[in-house]
Symmetry: C2
Subunit: 199 residues, 2 copies
Amino acid sequence: MTSPLLEQLIEAFRVLPGVGQKSAQRMAYHVLERERDGGRRLSQALAEAVEKVGHCARCRDFSETEVCATCASPSRGAQLLCIVESPADRLAIEQATGYRGLYFVLQGRLSPLDGIGPSELGLDRLGDRLGEGEVQEMIIATNPTVEGEATAHYLSQLARGHGVKPSRLAHGLPLGGELEYVDRGTLSHAFGSRSEIPQ
Amino acid sequence: MTSPLLEQLIEAFRVLPGVGQKSAQRMAYHVLERERDGGRRLSQALAEAVEKVGHCARCRDFSETEVCATCASPSRGAQLLCIVESPADRLAIEQATGYRGLYFVLQGRLSPLDGIGPSELGLDRLGDRLGEGEVQEMIIATNPTVEGEATAHYLSQLARGHGVKPSRLAHGLPLGGELEYVDRGTLSHAFGSRSEIPQ
């Protein structure tokens, strides 16, 4: 390579998820050939975000303020609390649904083998929050994986212990999916959980 | 979104080639969740490269020095000059072949409709260089596209005008390809350019 700085840039791009040697090269060349201004903006945005974005003290989602805009908003109801594993999950729910309650982001899932227990997920703080008495329903939106289910089970017991109603997102056939291609577990669950068609 | 800085970072990632909204989100979350150090390094590398990487005065490839390491190297022969369209093409040749001559990077191809003529590709400087009399063969490695072929034709005339032998990369079947799936143009060319098998 003709330029050590270019080599260093290619290496640095590989920190991004799904970016290997070839994509990193393409990105570096693209920025240098056509997007120097965009590259400057990205460098700036990265530096600022990495230094200043921390976690909201209420919901543990990313925030550069002590309490994030959602938690501080007076227009969101504090009776509903939706628990998600990651900020990306929270964003997906926010974009897909008309949910107007609050969130709590675990930033992970219970996984004792990896040393991730209740305190790593901030569940002590969640317990305190449930103890405040405002929350009436805890909507558990962890992923439908083994660890996600175990986390959901733990959360539901935590909720009941504080007199809060736990609920779980519905499982079943995805909209627009074809029965033939749905995995067995989902199909079996959807079959067992069938509901009467209202008149 | 809970954080304006995060939003700004996602937007900034979209400057990269092949990165849409979803990938940009994934990159931003990944950096903030798991790779803050990597993010810092990337920010630094980007800022440095964007400010300091210019073009080599000899070959027009990216370089942060006046003349790049390849052009300055005494171990590379100045009799052979390989012309490529982009730094990525140069890198591909450098990695795939044992070529020990020099390069000249056009940073584009002739395209009169887009206002890209000989001077935009540095062909005046290339002409001066051929005039120095050191170069004996010009290996034209522009892409086998319509514009690449037109550029190759122009270059071959430029070379001949300076008494330099122009050559072109071989066209034909790609190694490991299957005849059945090769496009007609390539197959027809390979058929017409068949060579006798040496004894």
